[in-house]
């Protein structure tokens, strides 16, 4: 047996036993940013069910399939019927918004609730990160994961549409504006619903409760917005502003405004893009602020 802690130096012989001992770590140590990124990566993997049972993976997989399905259909139909304009980008974002909402309802509680329920937070907070770092890592994880469903399929749709033209490179160059709008819409949606999902999840340690509140909140805000929209039909512009209470109609109005598509007053046609984006940014800021407050030290 070799000396404790000593690495084998000579040619190893078959069957030789080494005492691995304990060696002090003298390698590099990264800073807080690296720790935050490590936490974000780990959180994303856990939320998607990596290294967990298949039951933990099935919902994210189904949702990704659901998000990519419209893309496959649109690209497929366009391949056979080039003249057909099957689905515009605003229609696409509006169509998959429900799926994005379900996705966030599934992954946001997974990002925060287990850490509270299983008591892992004291371990994180005893590491060289601050409580705000923890919140930033979780927000980063939520944003990146939501982007994979709000942005990635839309980019694939754009790419598919361009590749089906006679001159793909020229088509890509001509439609770079669409790509920019897709990027803006994807990022806005990801932060908007991701922040709401984290906000709800920060108030409970039970994933089921968080999922229930997110779904219920979605249904309630949609109903409230619809009812107020009808009730205030003769009091413009309030009948349009109240659509911003509805996440789905807010996203629809944001997308239509980005692409300059005319919509009716009841769908917020009179609301300027800046106002819609402003409201979405305010929702993100308030949600993030409350989540940070939830995790701030209170003695």
């Amino acid at each position: 047996m070799s000396a404790p802690g000593a690495a084998p130096t000579a040619e190893p012989r078959f069957g030789e036993v080494y005492d691995r001992g304990y060696r002090h770590y003298e390698g590099p140590r990264h800073g807080q940013a690296s720790s935050v990124w490590a936490l974000a990566r780990y959180s994303m993997a856990r939320a998607l069910g990596f290294k967990k049972s298949w039951t933990a993976k099935i919902i994210p997989i189904l949702l990704y399939v659901g998000a990519i399905l419209p893309v496959v259909v649109v690209v497929g139909v366009t391949a056979f019927f080039p003249a057909a304009d099957v689905m515009s980008y605003p229609e696409y974002f509006s169509t998959i918004f429900l799926l994005e909402g379900i996705f966030v309802a599934a992954i946001a509680p997974e990002l925060l609730c287990p850490d509270r329920r299983e008591g892992v937070l004291p371990l994180y907070f005893s590491r060289p990160i601050t409580r705000l770092d923890y919140v930033i890592a979780k927000m980063l994880a939520a944003a990146i994961l939501t982007l994979t469903i709000s942005l990635l399929p839309a980019v694939i749709l754009w790419l598919g549409k361009q590749l089906l033209t006679g001159q793909p490179l020229a088509a890509m160059r001509d439609h770079l504006g669409d790509l920019g709008r897709i990027g803006a819409a994807g990022v806005l949606i990801a932060f908007y619903i991701g922040a709401v999902g984290l906000l709800v999840s920060s108030f409970t340690e039970r994933k089921g409760v968080a999922v229930g509140i997110i779904v219920l909140g979605f249904l309630l805000t949609e109903s409230l917005s619809g009812a107020l929209s009808v009730a205030l039909a003769d009091r413009p512009p309030w009948d349009q502003w109240v659509i911003l209470l509805s996440p789905s109609r807010t996203v629809f109005r944001m997308a239509t405004a980005l692409w300059g598509v005319e919509v009716s007053g009841r769908m917020g046609g009179g609301l300027p893009l800046g106002a819609v984006i402003g409201v979405m940014a305010a929702v993100v800021a308030v949600c993030c602020g409350i989540v940070a407050w939830r995790y701030a030290a209170r003695d």
Partner: protein, 331 residues
């Protein structure tokens, strides 16, 4: 124990012989004083933090880790201020909480490696270190199993592994033997002793079990109702009593008279063993010589000669009783 805080310039590594030091450290939860103006200077060794439930042990650890803020006073850990250097401090210390703190559906290897990464180790080094420390705590075979299938003892080992995976200089262990069976407790204490003696990591072992502290620690801090009642080495002469018990074949009274003639005061009898022994209440090096000379002069064989040792239990109850007063209330 009064301590003078040494204010040092900020640097990547602060040289100090102290694991931690506090001055007037106070923490209140509403009207309850969890820690009451504690002054400490704890050396870098294996430190037992002893006290009943609610004595303030966990509060002290959380304050030193910067997890909660003090209401008054200062503290430095490894020479750094807990108010301004909490993050650098936490890079150099490990923490094993008292309660459940492990994710059920992660493997031990993944989770410990993740904790190493959070402490700043690169990914590959983190995985290697995780494998090494899990081997050290006796979980080499089980490291790829989900934690939810682990026994209480195995979970405690995982908690210990994550506390040392980043190679800290100081590790806080909060009630590490809680809920463990006698064999598991023995093994855990042996591991903790090994961490200090072989791995050269300073250990703060918080416990309400005197035996745990006595077996592992070289220094003890006793808290009671948020107050510091004792902080001393378990190896210093004051801990070993200064009385000697002597048994001889012969008349103890004659032996005592001979000792008196040699200038050593001896009392007949031993309050613990009966009257066939002599007690020398204040024994020094000369007393040993006198005992030898008296035995030689009288031609009587010495049957036994032993020093009275005060156990940690004596120290604990003596100090806590002194702190609380005769009615059991905190003075």
């Amino acid at each position: 124990m009064a301590a003078t805080l040494i204010h040092q310039p900020e640097s990547a590594t602060v040289a100090t012989d102290l694991a931690f030091e506090t001055r007037g450290l106070t923490k209140r939860y509403g009207s309850i004083i969890a820690l009451d103006s504690v002054d400490l200077a704890a050396p870098r060794t294996s430190i037992g933090l002893l006290g009943a439930n609610g004595a303030g042990k966990s509060t002290l650890i959380k304050l030193l880790l910067g997890l909660i803020r003090p209401d008054a006073g200062d503290a430095r850990v490894l020479g750094r201020d807990i108010r301004t250097d909490a993050v650098p401090i936490r890079a150099q210390v490990g923490y094993m909480p008292e309660g459940d703190c492990l994710p059920a559906d992660a493997t031990a290897a993944d989770f410990v490696a993740h904790m190493a990464e959070i402490s700043g180790l690169p990914s590959r080094a983190a995985r290697q270190r995780a494998a090494d420390v899990l081997y050290q705590v006796g979980l080499e075979e089980e490291r790829y199993r989900l934690i939810k299938g682990f026994s209480t003892g195995m979970k405690q080992r995982v908690k210990l592994a994550q506390a040392i995976v980043h190679d800290p200089q100081l590790v806080f262990l909060d009630e590490p033997t809680n809920g463990m069976d006698p064999q598991g407790r023995d093994e855990m204490l042996a591991l903790i002793a090994r961490i200090h003696r072989m791995l050269d990591i300073s250990v703060v072992l918080s416990s309400h079990i005197l035996d745990d502290v006595e077996r592992v620690c070289r220094y003890v801090i006793i808290l009671d109702a948020g107050r510091l009642v004792a902080a001393q080495s378990l190896e210093e002469p004051g801990q070993v009593g200064d009385a000697l018990f002597v048994r001889i074949d012969g008349d103890p009274a004659v032996f005592a008279a001979r000792l008196a003639a040699l200038g050593v005061e001896a009392e007949l009898g031993n309050p613990e063993r009966g009257r066939d022994e002599l007690t020398i209440p204040r024994a020094d090096a000369a007393a040993y010589d006198a005992i030898r000379d008296a035995a030689a002069d009288l031609g009587v064989p010495l049957r036994s000669l032993r020093a009275r040792t005060r156990s940690l239990e004596d120290l604990y109850f003596g100090n806590v009783a002194h702190q609380r007063g005769p009615d059991g209330r905190v003075a």
